[in-house]
Symmetry: C2
Subunit: 229 residues, 2 copies
Amino acid sequence: MDILSHLSLSPLFEGLPSGHLEALAMIVVDQDVNRGELIFSEGDNGKGFYVVVSGRVKIFKVSSEGKEQILHIFGPGEPFGEVPVFAGRQFPANAEAMEKSRVFFFPRAAFIDLIKANPELALNMLAVLSMRLRRFTVLIEDLSLKEVPGRLAAYLLYLSESKQGTRHLELDITKTQLASLLGTIPETLSRILGRMNKRGLIETEGPRIRILDMEGLKELAEAGVWIPD
Amino acid sequence: MDILSHLSLSPLFEGLPSGHLEALAMIVVDQDVNRGELIFSEGDNGKGFYVVVSGRVKIFKVSSEGKEQILHIFGPGEPFGEVPVFAGRQFPANAEAMEKSRVFFFPRAAFIDLIKANPELALNMLAVLSMRLRRFTVLIEDLSLKEVPGRLAAYLLYLSESKQGTRHLELDITKTQLASLLGTIPETLSRILGRMNKRGLIETEGPRIRILDMEGLKELAEAGVWIPD
DNA sequence: CGTGGCCTTGATAAAGTTCAAGAGCCGTGG
DNA sequence: CCACGGCTCTTGAACTTTATCAAGGCCACG
């Protein structure tokens, strides 16, 4: 598939005149990365941003003791690493391919010229950043105002909603990664899944999770803490 | 002071041709709010965004149990409530005046027209949102990867840096609010300030904090946990 | 001069992490 | 083809951090 058709699939470039898409195609750098490969590290100078073409990329922070907090997991069409493009300075976090992936790199200067020439592109980028802020707001709320069971319940409901409300979920990340996404560790996640099982909220079978009590899960996500036995 | 000169003071409107500033001045709604007054609530429909003219505004979330997490404290010149303008939907958090304040309100549609006509304004707004994302990234890292002493140390160092590295700090918010900003409660904050005193890291006297051991604080902020006695 | 908010301190309890050990699973290479 | 090593996942026990509940002091403002 050629670069142009990939570009047109990304929400970021929606509604752009084809002339501008062609201009974009001229400036992209096509890049293949292997599973586990770092795309950039926190503190690197950002000379441009990326868009996932295929595969998955995780954005994360690491503590001095090695604990990891995943901020995002991005799939095809989603841009990442834009902060230094507009705010200057370095990347605020790390980016790593979770599987063999293909990404497009957009050099900063050329992209800014395109934005100046095309307000629609600017508005699209503003929308992307705004949605990201919204998601961070939720993540911060979860981390500071909810306990782990509440965060897990919210995540399961989110998964369910993003699949038309199905009760049969299939994790497409390891439980270790899910723990990192929820701001905890695998041991804690394992115990809480166990408790949810015992309480009849869910039924787990490896990476498959069946929601038994949607209402109970909603209460839990809402309250942020366990409701007494 | 007239609206025009206030606008020119905000970084958001830096570098705009005076014609556009005048256009902006035409669409703003000037608004006075008293201490403790809500400017908007989470879930309200966002029909525009705001800029602080004078006073201070806090953006915060509240848990179902009433615990509060402050996301930002904004002062003169800083915009807030922009997310719904570009991403649509509702405000993701609450905004409340911390003291008698004056704010400008910019209706969404008129502002978007201005952006379309002025790429410089778009780039300024992109810079604002990007910096906000950067700050959230740090907040998330702190909440999930550091313990309260580490967060407090980081905050004190931030205060010091923002005042040219002085060792004499003066809190301009109550300790209860500081606790909320750090994602904890007043009791815990009080205990940790006490421990920092005992260890000779700082010296407190009401809202005045003197840094005695800058290096020690940096270690603490870096490690995120206490270093053994 | 009383009242409400803010701050501090203590005792207690809950949640989560750490450390340790063992089971299951999978791909690689002999 | 199977054994090995590595990784994920689970479970238990001890420990640490933080929140909760309760009480008292302080200060500012009406």
